[in-house]
Amino acid sequence: MLAIETTATWAFSVDVTVGVNTETYTNLAADRDAVTAVTALVAWANDAGRAWSGSRTFSWDWSRHSDSGGALLVLACSGTFSLSAGAATNLGLPAAVGVVGVVGTAPALGTWAPVSRVSVRGNLRVLAAGDGCGDGAVRPGVPGTAAKNPQVSAIGTAIDAARLAAILATASNPRRCLVYQLHKATWLTRALGDISRSSAGPMHYAFELTLAGLAL
């Protein structure tokens, strides 16, 4: 899954109720992508300061939404809880009462979940082009602090292609994204550069995404 930072208003609030205790999570306006927002929501819900601390553990997950090519978020809990509708617009999580999990009914803003998942390879440090000389007196950068430029690719349907163009239209400037590296179970935050699309058969498209750095 890929989640881009969007220009939408991310300062939403949502009420979480466990038993008789209701507390309100307010998302930071600066947390402008779905992954950062839902991660912060879960961290807040599991914080020791919550009234239900010790009796409930929250977690989140996602699944592909085939109708849109976006990601449906899932907010799960070790016990029953209730959720207000405050996160419906940004995260797609509807209001729910007395449940152990809430499944998104709409894709979270700025998310892209193509059919193939997103391939993230070679998340290695790459020196940018620069002056250098053979005797080592001048070096094109410092290897230990060079940007990590993963190779990101995916295969998607026409719906996925349309979804990607649609969310890019809402992207923040400069453009940043979080991408999930499956084999290391890690979210990478990167600047999102050029995206190329080519045909991968009669019904599918291949995507190559240029990502770089620890995005500013």
């Binding site: 410092v142 940007a147 719906i159 649609a166 453009r175 600047a191 550069g193 770089a212 750095g213």
Partner: protein, 246 residues
């Protein structure tokens, strides 16, 4: 036939004679206007003009509505029915009384009424040619939207990078497939420049990220020359790039 491309006509700008203007002699320099003259006295010429750029069939409807407005003395007495038949590919301008359509500037090409209209009266006039403002297609391939932007991905010290973006539109790559009969319509230029709408199939709702078979509406950014396919000169293709503001 459900695949088609439809063009917009363009206005020459604001005019005091927008709508029905009995006996107007003002110069009309675009396909935004048509005129009719009725046989019965007083036999004045009445212009109808859209107030804003209009899609082909919308313009037809607007002209019909305009000419059917309650008329002051001397304006058309007939009730008009203007239609486009996608099967016969002809425009018909009809009235309840004898009249003669007049085609200012390029309106004849736009509507396909390219026959001699200078003589005779009739209650119904059908175009001699297919209109240039709308073309029925054998098929069309419209790729999903692509974000069209210039991106400056810059890397800085300590592994930092910034991707600055400039852009305000999306593009669709389209390929029209049509027969030799439509080549003249395509070459007239109205559907290969300016604003167009491409219907991919029977879906008459707009394209969106979740309705990718909807019609695509935008501006022609680039257009190839129509190409004859294969050895049998029957099918032609034309590649286009359609820009859509976002």
């Amino acid at each position: 036939m459900s695949c088609r491309i439809e063009a917009w006509s363009y206005s020459e700008g604001p005019s005091a004679s927008v709508g029905v203007a009995a006996g107007s002699t003002s110069a009309l320099g675009s396909t935004q206007a048509i005129a009719i003259k009725e046989q019965a006295s007083p036999g004045t010429t009445t212009y109808a003009r859209t107030a804003a750029p209009s899609r082909f069939r919308d313009a037809l409807a607007h002209w019909q509505t305009t000419l059917n407005l309650p008329a002051p003395a001397g304006t058309p007495s007939g009730t008009h029915t203007f239609s486009y038949d996608s099967s016969t590919r002809r425009v018909t301008l009809a009235s309840t009384v004898n009249m003669r359509p007049l085609m200012p500037d390029n309106a004849a090409t736009w509507l396909g009424l390219t026959q001699d209209l200078s003589a005779g009266w009739a209650t119904s006039w059908q175009g001699a040619s297919a209109p240039a403002g709308i073309v029925e297609l054998v098929g069309v391939t419209v790729e999903p939207a692509e974000d069209w932007s210039a991106i400056d991905l810059s890397e800085y010290r300590h592994g930092r990078a910034v991707a600055s973006v400039w852009g305000n539109h999306q593009v669709h790559q389209a390929q029209l497939l049509f027969t030799a009969d439509e080549v003249d319509q395509i070459n007239a230029g109205y559907v290969t420049a300016g604003r167009v709408r491409i219907y991919q199939d029977t879906d008459t709702t707009a394209y969106s990220a979740t309705n990718i078979d909807g019609y695509v509406e935008g501006f022609v950014l680039a257009c190839d020359t129509p190409t004859e396919d294969g050895d049998a000169p029957e099918l032609w293709t034309l590649r286009m790039l359609i820009g859509v503001p976002r």
